[in-house]
């Protein structure tokens, strides 16, 4: 699955949309969901929680392992994807679409984390 051009990426394998009214959507990449294997449990951050760029804010549990979800940017969580909480397999079947994890209102005062373009992320995962 190729990495959509319109998204931004982190070295922790999260993706982030462009913001709409200051809010961006966050998920994990196909590369990450494939490495995890079948996701069986998603612990998402709570709505209203403050997350900070590069810090863990949730967990994805797969058959073999547990992996932290890292916030790609700092801000306040405005919405979580209840469909993923109910059916974590969406992270595997549709990592860039239906398997999104949460939405975050980016704190304009916070230090922005380092985000990669699709090409840069491609190059990073091929290393």
């Amino acid at each position: 699955m190729s990495n959509p051009k319109h998204l931004r990426y982190t070295r922790d394998h999260e993706w982030l949309t462009e913001t709409t009214d200051g809010v961006a959507t966050v998920g994990i990449t196909a590369h990450a969901s494939s490495a995890l294997g079948d996701v069986v449990y998603a612990q998402l951050p709570e709505v209203g929680a403050t997350v900070s760029a590069g810090s863990p804010c949730g967990e994805l549990e797969s058959t073999k392992a547990i992996s932290d979800i890292y916030a790609p940017v700092s801000g306040e969580v405005t919405e979580i994807n209840q469909a993923v909480a109910d059916d974590p397999e969406l992270v595997n079947s549709s990592p860039f679409e239906n398997g999104w994890l949460f939405k975050v209102r980016i704190d304009p005062g916070a230090e922005p984390g380092e985000l990669l373009s699709a090409e840069e992320y491609d190059a990073f995962t091929e290393q």
């Binding site: 494939s34 490495a35 449990y41 549990e61 058959t63």
Partner: protein, 371 residues
């Protein structure tokens, strides 16, 4: 392990299939090809194909081959008829388990010992040392075989299409030399999945054509290639122990609830006898921790090493293996717990999952038994 990973004779096949590979006991092995849950379900409902070529084959041959094994292992291999197999163990003098093994008696004076990959070197060395006084040869046959497993309710039907040998009479824990897809193979009705199935020992050069023939013959039955990830969840559901998890040098067969593999009644001394006699007594009079099954309705998965706690927070045991069970649809685990908390249905047992005590039910093993 500093050695670069060894690859099996099927390595190119795995890569062509897009497998996610993992390092396992020094071998590069397929972890999964696609969804490990789909692979698991294929074995439970149809048929799955596994590369198990990392397993360690050791041949023991000669007039005193049976006597050597009776001395070196805890089982009574001299009582096994040619063509049959036994699940057994090799223990240290102190009773600790060095490995669990399947031993196939191929002929009166010929045995095939199959050890876990991680322990094969040690088992080989122990068999040589323990066998020094016997008129028998211990031979490292690890490079002589590739091993392919065909597991699941449709396995017998798929295999029957590729051989003229009648396998309908081949019993569980029995083996038979046969020609499969034109290749010479030792067909064994054994496995580690809780389903009916076969393990095919073949020459490494025959592994690719055999794999291809099995894949083609099973296509209409829903055969899929299966990796080590689903092998682990399959064996866990079936309540089968895994060395390094439920079994170790720190446990005796009695500690693991597998005392039945120790045959005190056999003639002569065997390595570990005295210590194992004490372990057998202790298992009755003052049992150490007992291996139990745990099931939870919660979604977080108990993992190996997580503490098991009582209602008051006291640590009463430790998880040895845990995974989300595809068949039960909830997390399951095996754990060693204090005997006082080992009865099925014991109240208040929980697993500490990263700081949270998650309630679990103590259940009898196995979690799954085929219908």
């Amino acid at each position: 392990m500093s050695d670069p990973s060894r690859v099996t004779a099927l390595d190119a096949v795995h890569r062509a299939l897009g497998a996610t590979m993992t390092d396992f006991a020094g071998w590069s092995m397929p972890l999964r090809y696609g969804s490990e849950r789909a692979e698991h379900q294929a074995v439970r409902t149809a048929v799955g194909l596994f590369d198990l070529s990392h397993m360690g084959e050791i041949a023991v041959t000669g007039p005193e081959a049976a006597a050597l094994l009776d001395h070196a292992l805890v089982g009574r291999l001299s009582a096994v008829k040619p063509g049959r197999a036994r699940y057994t163990m090799i223990c240290e003098a102190g009773g600790g388990i060095l490995d669990d093994l399947i031993v196939y008696r191929l002929a009166d004076e010929e045995f095939l010992v199959v050890a876990n990959a991680a322990n094969a070197e040690r088992v080989l060395a122990e068999l040589r040392e323990r066998g020094a006084g016997f008129d028998a040869e211990v031979r490292d046959d690890r490079d002589a075989y590739a091993l392919i497993a065909l597991q699941g309710p449709a396995a017998a039907g798929v295999l029957a299409r590729l051989t003229g040998t009648d396998l309908s009479g081949l019993r569980y824990y029995a083996s038979l030399p046969a020609e499969v897809a034109g290749r010479k193979v030792l067909v064994a009705r054994t496995g580690y999945t809780g389903e009916d199935g076969f393990e095919l020992f073949c020459a490494p050069g025959d592994a690719e054509p055999l794999w291809a023939a099995l894949t083609e013959a099973g296509a209409g039955d829903g055969l899929v290639p299966c990796g080590l990830s689903c092998r682990d969840t399959l064996r866990l559901e079936a309540g089968m122990p895994l060395y390094g998890h439920e079994l170790s040098e720190a446990t005796t067969p009695f500690d693991a609830g597998l005392g039945r593999v120790v045959k005190f009644e056999k003639e002569g001394d065997f390595v570990g006898r005295a210590a194992l006699e004490r372990a057998a007594e202790r298992a009755v009079s003052d049992p150490p921790r007992v291996l139990v099954g745990l099931v939870t309705g919660e979604r977080r998965v108990p993992r190996a090493g997580y503490p098991v706690v009582a209602a008051d927070g006291t640590v009463i045991g430790e998880v040895t293996s845990g995974a989300p069970s595809p068949t039960l649809g909830k997390p399951i685990a095996m754990a060693y717990v204090d005997a006082s908390h080992s009865a099925p249905g014991t109240d208040g047992v929980a697993v500490e999952v990263r700081g949270t005590a998650v309630p679990h039910e103590v259940v009898a093993l196995p979690f799954y038994r085929r219908g």
